[in-house]
Amino acid sequence: MTDIYAYITHKGGVADDSAMEMVAAAGTIDAGAAVTAIVTGSGADSDKVADEVAASYAKVLKFNLDALAYPNAEVVRKLLVNALPADAIVLVPHDTFGMDLSPGLSIKLDSSFVADVVAIEGMDGGALKVIRQEYSGMVSTHVTADIANGVVINIRPGAFSPDESKSAGGVVEDRSADAGDLTTRRTFLKIVEAEVGDVDITKSDVLVSVGRGIEDEDNIEIADELAEAMGAVVSCSRPIVDAKWLEKSRQVGTSGQTVKPKVYMACGISGSFQHMGGLKGAPFIVAINKNIKAPIFQVADVGIEADILDFLPELTEAINEL
């Protein structure tokens, strides 16, 4: 079996949850694999992360250089091309960094690429068999990738349950000297932090959250009225912000706010993984959607097959009569 590598994303000296999830993912490719973590960064933070993940990985390759202080995918890709063997199996989290890094990495390594993998079924002859989703999670597909020349696999964050009991006690090797030429034609400048809105949806115990099913800007008031009746706050999914019907600060999801309400009313929201990624703390989820195939019904506690434009006003009226 080919060597398996995992690229560790980290922030503030702490490894992302995906670090442990990729150990589990690697185990589904080859149960006996000795998996190597790759940690890039600069200063004490990346030293700390390397030591942290050594507990779960057989080996950690550490690249500690000023040029790697910010994870610019263009720089990291060059480093990985310099440092990885040509036929490597490379695991990367399918987050905004992994989406930036991996497609090009697979070309430079002349290997296969599979994006946003939610499950791995194992080897099928010379090919790796995985499960992906299409159409925002409405259907799934089995996909095989020829891995004779290696493969880059982007793993969906949260899809693999980490096995905390596994301990590897790996060694950290400082490979900074092998980084090679890291000059690129894209330079990281700065992070502009998301604007703070007039309402902080992260502070509310109850969220009435609207998605595409609201259909029109004028219908937002239907959600406002329900929220008022419930003592809740209105949040939304991405399409509502793209349409400029609500402020960005109201958006729940990986590219918006992370919320931990007690009750989440998903109204006309299909439930893409990017949206659900912003919902933490196991809230009681009520899904109201006219499309019974919407993935939100797989994760909700309670489902109602209805058009929110009809259902929400009736619910509001009933609550107001209590």
Binding site: N72, A73, D95, T96, M99, D100, P103, G104, S106, S112, F113, V114, A115, D116, K129, R132, E134, Y135, M138, V139, S140, V143, A145, D146, R185, R186, F188, L189, K190, I191, V192, E193, A194, D205, V206, M230, A232, S249, Q251, S255, G256, Q257, K262, V263, F284, I285, V286, A287, K293, Q298, V299, V302, G303, I304, E305, A306, L315, A318, I319, L322
Partner: protein
């Protein structure tokens, strides 16, 4: 500035229920409404706005068949200068890398400063832009939600976790994948599409592109479509609307959703 925008014709998942066909070999394609991939529409709008500001031209390209021409025409009606259709029986079944290879061949037949694609399409792989950039050895940035044009370079914002924006300077020529929300794509009416109905759209096949049909073969293959087991799934509330609302109110009270 010469700009190429890569677009794709996809089933419109906002207009359709996507269902698996009886054999699990494909999605049910009868009666599907097709449209241009949502992300691509933002990419085309951005290209038009840049051209209107700094001059140059915008070309839209797609890999597809006769039916893909309607998507090119729709985007041309937004104000795009040229369309380009890459079509050949040999292209069927190409994986992401295969598509990127065809686009690379098309790019090399022209001279473009900036190549845009949507951040992702119906299969959610978000891969073709990054692959194309690597094949061309151009710098790349994904999930771009802001572009400022400079001298031989661009300042681009990438949408990252938490709604933060990662600002980068990127040299041209380059490839960018565009995130939704970067602009407000203009509306295209029937009249606009009629206006471009007679425009010639050049069509390039494998031989025109100098691509060996055998080289397109996919290393990544989709075997089937299926609907996963629902697992626990939601408890569906049934009955009349009044009954459903009564049950829901009890559940909301029990879980802290109503005082």
């Amino acid at each position: 500035m010469e700009i190429l925008v890569c677009v794709k014709r996809v089933p419109d998942s906002a207009e359709n229920e996507i269902e698996v066909n009886g054999e699990g070999s494909d999605i049910e394609r009868d009666d599907l409404v097709y449209s241009v991939n949502e992300w691509d529409n933002y990419a085309v709008e951005e290209a038009i706005q840049i051209r209107d500001n700094v001059g140059g031209s915008v070309t839209v390209v797609t890999v597809g068949d006769d039916e893909s021409e309607e998507v090119l025409r729709r985007e041309m009606a937004m104000g795009v200068d040229k369309g380009l259709l890459l079509a050949d029986d040999a292209f069927e079944g190409a994986d992401g890398k295969g598509i990127a290879g065809l686009l690379k061949a098309a790019v090399e037949k022209g001279k473009y400063d900036l190549i845009l694609s949507g951040a992702q399409a119906d299969d959610g792989a978000a891969q073709v832009g990054g692959m194309l950039a690597a094949m061309l050895d151009y710098p790349y940035a994904s999930l771009v939600n802001k572009i400022e044009v400079g001298d031989g370079k661009l300042t681009v914002g990438r949408e990252i976790e938490g709604g933060d924006q990662e600002m980068n300077e990127i040299a041209m020529p380059c490839v960018l994948s565009i995130q939704t929300g970067i602009n407000e794509p203009r509306y295209v009416g029937i009249r606009g599409i009629r206006k471009v109905a007679s425009l010639e759209i050049p069509r390039l096949g494998a031989a025109d592109l100098g691509v060996e049909a055998a080289a397109i073969g996919a290393k990544v293959k989709r075997l089937d479509y299926f609907v996963p087991e629902m697992g626990d799934g939601a408890d569906m509330l049934e009955g009349s609307t009044e009954e459903i609302i009564a049950k829901l109110i009890e559940l909301l009270k029990a879980n802290g959703g109503l005082k």
